[in-house]
Amino acid sequence: MAVNKSYEEINEKIRRGEAVVVTAEEVIDVVAEKGYEQAAREIDVVTTGTFGPMCSSGAFINFGHSNPRIKMKKVWLNGVEAYTGIAAVDAYVGAGQLPENDPENKVFPGRFTYGGGHLIHDLVAGKEIKLEAIGYGTDCYPNKKVDAIITLSDVNDAFLFNPRNAYQNYNCAINLGERVIYTYMGILKPKMGNASYSSAGQLSPLLNDPYYRTIGIGTRIFLGGGVGYVAWHGTQHHPNVPRGENGVPLGGAGTLALIGDLKGMDPNWLVGLSFIGYGATMAVGIGVPIPILDEEMLRFTAVKDEDIYCPIVDYDEGYPYCKPMDLGRVNYRDLKSGKVIINGKTVVTTPQSSYPRARQIAQILKNWIQKGQFQLTQPVASIPSAEADIVFKSIPHKKPGNEDSVVEKRR
């Protein structure tokens, strides 16, 4: 009889401490030994993990009020500006934000030693943070300036809200130019001196559920060492791309918007990063449990690095100037071996996403589930999948009209 399990049946087993949980790496060996059907029968949950730079991350914070009250017009945390164009003492700080006085790339390549990601790490680590805010003063919010030292425990709310995380597959970056370039994919040596990649491959959440059958809005996950949820599909979610026979996209495709309470997180799993010549960002730890509802889900989770291909992209001209170039594809087994062959040349590979940390996350999530601390959730709504008709857009070339007409419209 075909394997068929419901979320409720799996959760019942988790509550009884009887669920069979393996990581997305371990499932490969189970399948090799027992075959798909038997493995699907025995395994209830497969845990995934990823830990890499994810620029589209940040945190909403409500500071509570000063006395007298303030409506913040601008606010800085350790010199890093947070966006406060929302309610009086609410703000959003982005992982890629730099301090006001950062030298940026003025002396190239810049170092970017501190930014929003480092700040979020420091907050979660319980460190003291310098809070500065200015306001213009109103009858209800008379205060115009706040200077204080705060810690995470002093604020009312702090939750991570990351608009785009857990990219399903990504580019393999090379440099076909003549000079060293400094990118968000790290340092790329000229004339294809190295090939940089950033995915946990066979452990990565969306590569184990390629059509988002079980990962959807409301899915409970491991986020930054605590518990989080999938809030929406991520920005630039583009599921209708070419896929392999196994359903796995052959390049960047799905993404997730994630949310979770910063107060329950761990600084080990939210780490500020400094990419020389590029900027500051944050490594985010994410783990998603995948329920083995049937044999199809088991087959998806048994995907191997050698069956996941990513496109080779030139970051000298191709990427920055949006020039389409067909440079072929490589698989993650070869990328992880340390060398790949591109155009007949052997190229050393540079990972950006931490595979050992991804494995650790999948293990932690497995332990949580085995101990009955973490139950699975059925998505309340699905995110768009391969049959969607999403067009990947860029900024239109249309220039604003002459100044007069703009002024006209404003009046």
């Binding site: 390549p109 790290g186 780490v271 340390g338 540079t350 595979y355 050992p356």
Partner: protein, 140 residues
């Protein structure tokens, strides 16, 4: 030629325009990497000196003639496993495999004895888990 040196000063020497003389009289390009002079005006300077071989030698002889202690700089690379996130980015930049990835676990390790202090790994580590340390003796 180009070399890094540590110069140890006593109070009398730190009053003199040593850098100026090195530039002016010996035509050397000087980069001050680190300096620490205490309130008693004793301390050290870590310098990078660049110039013709003969002027370099004469410049160093000049420093020694003033009683400045001159020693080659010994630098070491320190890898902090507690800061490292095991991304592996550094290993492909290391020419000597001092930083290495175990391909089955994908874990990075550092073997100080293989490190030639080329500095290649310093720029590419996003967590700054790898740092350069100058070995400097107590001020004389």
């Amino acid at each position: 030629m180009k070399n890094k040196l540590v110069c140890y000063f006593s109070a009398a020497q730190s009053e003199q325009p040593i850098i100026y003389r090195l530039v002016k009289d010996y035509d050397l390009i000087i980069n001050i990497l680190k300096a620490d002079i205490n309130p008693q005006k004793e301390g050290f300077l870590v310098l990078e000196l660049e110039g013709e071989r003969s002027s370099y030698d004469q410049g160093v002889a000049f420093l020694k003639s003033l009683g400045v202690g001159v020693e080659p700089l010994s630098e070491t690379v320190v890898w902090q496993p507690s800061v490292c996130i095991q991304c592996g980015a550094c290993a492909s930049f290391c020419p000597t495999e001092a930083l290495q990835i175990d391909r089955s676990s994908m874990e990075v390790s550092f073997d100080n004895s293989k490190c030639v202090v080329c500095g290649m790994c310093l720029d590419c580590c996003p967590t700054r888990a790898i740092t350069l340390h100058f070995e400097i003796k107590e001020a004389v």
